[in-house]
Amino acid sequence: MTISAEKMKEMLWTMVLSRRFEDELMDLCKIQGKIPGMMILATGQEAVGSGACAALEPEDVIITNHRSHNHLLAKGANPNVLMAEIFCKRTGCNKGKSGTLHMAVPEINAPCTSTVVGAGPPIAVGRAFAQQYKGEKRVTVCFFGDGAAAEGSVHEAMNLAGLWRLPVIFICENNVYAGAQRLEEHAPVLNLADRAAGYAMPGVIVDGNDAPAVYQAVVEAKQRALSGDGPTFIECKTYRCRGHGEADPQHYQPKDEISAWQEKCPVPRLRDTLQAQGVITAADFQDMENRAAAMVREAVRFAEDSPYPSPEEALEDVFAE
């Protein structure tokens, strides 16, 4: 499969934007102390969300988890409302009720971010069931981690998806760690994709730092889903370059392991490929970085200028009328 230049640039762009967005978050959180609560970043893993979402239409659905910023931006979320939500402001996509951890962006078909590890897959299965029930030609992509693969809910969801041939794509972002536990310490097998066969679905392993490879795997999975052949499990091998959250000193992560993976950073990797192929120039890339910087600056300004929600508004939105 050849990937169009447009798609390639789209992936690079959402990676650049995500990286800039999260680098800014790191600064806002650790240096400036402006953001409350936890701060969980996907630095170095952007090829997964950006590659996968490039394969989706706006009407396709994603369900994400605690490490969501890249997924949401790649799916097309407005950086302003995300940033405002992360600041817990009233103009945030969820009026400040979610904060960074559970941003719901139904307007881009990213209706659910759960921080309950492993909770995404059953919900994704429900969302994909609705697509099947309504006869929509759409898929649901569910992002979750290597740690989440241990949760019973993930098993139940994959089992049901396999049984009903639902149009769902499980993307397991294997970044080697679940909290402070290394893969070997929390999983009995190194390839979580080995489990797919037990649910009658293909288990695909891709280089999770290679956005086009992720894209390609998702395109294939989508075709399969849309032809009625059901779900696919895609394990993206990547690495958590930062701590579990920004408060994590990473004392248990070998320094050389981190730096080796930083070498494999997906952003320069795709940039170099595209430059070598003549798809973009160095100036084009610089332009992307500038645009991303401007958008993130604007998002921060928007968020900072926005008011907090009033305390009493906390009473709203519990029940639909």
């Binding site: 969820n94 307007e107 059953p122 919900i123 969302r127 139940e156 969801a157 029940f319």
Partner: protein, 325 residues
């Protein structure tokens, strides 16, 4: 008027709503092909009528069943899923409590989760504590969930139809003991609003607040007490959330005396909430201490004499009432 068991009334409500709205579907273990070939059961005959695309038998996977409902509801469908017995709600509880109940709030009001979880509850089936464990107090404590526990077949029909049309997650708890006793149910279509208790028997001397399977016990006790000249007013809550405080308080204002009757175990049961509401807002009317008549603080035992001992009965209720009048 037709006479139906509660299971049949539920069945009628399900049929009517499925005919009305193609977005309604049903999922659960054995909701289609069932080990029961008994028209008294709620999902009897639905598979034949609506086919396998709308009546979905699932694997034995309570979390996935609940997740299916959450995801499908967000997409605008109206799932009615079944968790076979109340104790198995534990297995679905993350999906219901941390997701169905919270995701609307977390979306800042953007999304809605119009789903119904039906569960069987109640002791008296000889199956022991892993099948019989009334946990309505759990769901009633979770903002974002509505909780319905009908005591009559007619209420079950009208309330289930309201629950299915409601845009919020509703936990609908059916007492198995009510499946088999025929009760009058209007033939025509009607909706019973959630959040309204009903005075099932008016009286002046003492208020008994109850719900679900215990209504019969309350009625039996009231009958007997009436012969001794004691007029019991019976408030059937019907829905625990939203709670109809007005009806409870008006009754206590009239009688000055409160007994709460529920089948669930005493400590931490929803009876405490009723007590608190009355003590907060109806204190000046109270002439006597509260009495709670409830299951004792034990798991439901299997042995018949012990299971009977577990279930609150009219004698206990009469004794409790006599203590405070």
């Amino acid at each position: 008027m037709q006479k139906l068991g509660m299971g049949q009334a539920v069945n009628q409500a399900l049929r009517e709503e499925m005919h009305r709205d193609p977005n309604v579907f049903i999922a659960g273990e054995g909701v289609g092909v069932s080990i029961h070939l008994n028209p008294m059961f709620p999902t009897h005959g639905l598979l034949e009528e609506f086919g396998p695309s709308r009546i979905k038998d699932t694997p034995v996977s309570e979390a996935a069943i609940a997740g299916l409902a959450v995801g499908a509801a967000e997409a605008g469908l109206r799932p009615v899923v079944e968790i076979m017995f109340n104790p198995f709600f534990t297995l679905a509880s993350d999906m219901i409590v941390n997701h169905a109940a919270k995701l609307r709030y977390l979306s800042g009001g953007k999304s809605a989760f119009p789903l119904v979880v039906r569960m069987k509850s109640g002791a008296g089936i000889g199956a022991g504590c892993q099948h019989s464990h009334n946990l309505e107090a759990w769901v009633a404590h979770c903002p974002g969930l509505k909780v319905v526990m009908p005591a009559t077949a007619a209420d079950a029909k009208g309330l289930l139809k309201s629950a299915i049309r409601d845009d919020n997650p509703v936990i609908f708890i059916e007492h198995m003991g009510l499946y088999f006793a025929p009760m009058p149910v209007p033939e025509e279509e009607y909706l019973t609003p959630m959040g309204q208790a009903e005075i099932k028997r008016p009286g002046t001397d003492v208020t008994v607040v109850t719900w679900s399977g215990m209504l019969g016990v309350a009625m039996a006790a009231a009958e007997k007490l009436a012969q001794e000249g004691v007029q019991v007013e019976i408030v059937d809550l019907r829905t625990l959330v939203p709670l109809d405080k007005e009806t409870i308080l008006a009754s206590v204002a009239k009688t000055g005396r409160l007994v709460v009757l529920h089948e669930a175990t005493r400590t931490g049961g929803f009876g405490g909430e009723i007590a608190a509401v009355v003590m907060e807002e109806g204190f000046r009317h109270l002439k006597a201490p509260l009495r709670r008549v409830t299951g004792p603080d034990i798991p439901v035992p299997a042995s018949p004499p012990q299971e009977r001992f577990y279930i609150p009965n009219d004698e206990q209720l009469i004794m409790a009432i006599k203590e405070i009048i």
